[in-house]
Symmetry: C2
Subunit: 118 residues, 2 copies
């Protein structure tokens, strides 16, 4: 037990210290929140549905593609809007949702931190 009992030095006993560069704990939290918004199959399908539509889609049309209750869909949509992935627009009685392109770009930026050159 040469020099130590201070975790950091024990580490140096098996490999390099590295670490330090990279994102802050706060940024990690923000990134995790973004991923958490997409951590449910239903929400992935919603985003995929809206990403494939050139125009906003109303909740009733989204709902007709899922076998879930209307409040449940409303719940998921609220989460996606809160995460910044979707935009909500009221048209008369209906609520229309669409993809937030910039949020998708942010996501792509987070993921592609190693191999994108643009």
């Amino acid at each position: 037990m040469s020099t130590l009992t201070a975790g950091r030095q024990i580490a140096a006993d098996c490999c390099a210290p590295l670490m330090g560069e990279g994102l802050s704990p706060e940024e990690a939290g923000a990134t995790a929140a973004l991923f958490k918004a997409l951590s449910d199959p239903t929400r992935v399908r919603i985003v995929n549905l809206l990403a494939g539509s050139p125009e906003p889609v109303c909740l009733c049309d989204i709902n007709s593609g899922f076998e879930l209750s209307q409040p449940t869909l409303s719940h998921h949509l609220k989460k996606l809007v809160a995460a910044g992935l979707l935009t909500r627009e009221q048209r008369g009685t209906w609520a229309f949702y669409s993809i937030n392109e910039e949020a998708l770009r942010r996501l792509s930026d987070v993921v592609g931190q190693r191999e994108i050159a643009s």
Copy 2:
């Protein structure tokens, strides 16, 4: 009894039916599972740490960068390995973890479904 069960017809009353193309429920589940693995700040930091290291890193070094107990870190690493994002390698007494580049590429592929053509 509920008037809500007739959803499909109500939908056609406000906008187009669209939907249909896109990913299947199973694929949505797989994609959501991938995102779920990254839906925790600690796991995001782990992936970031390993993505910034050219060589595998042992758990002791990962652990020294976090204020969490060793079993908790081990738990997160197991989840990341199960998701295919990390690779585990045993070297003597130590367990070394590294990024699975192909998994990152898969993730990037899922996210960049709309704008990679630029």
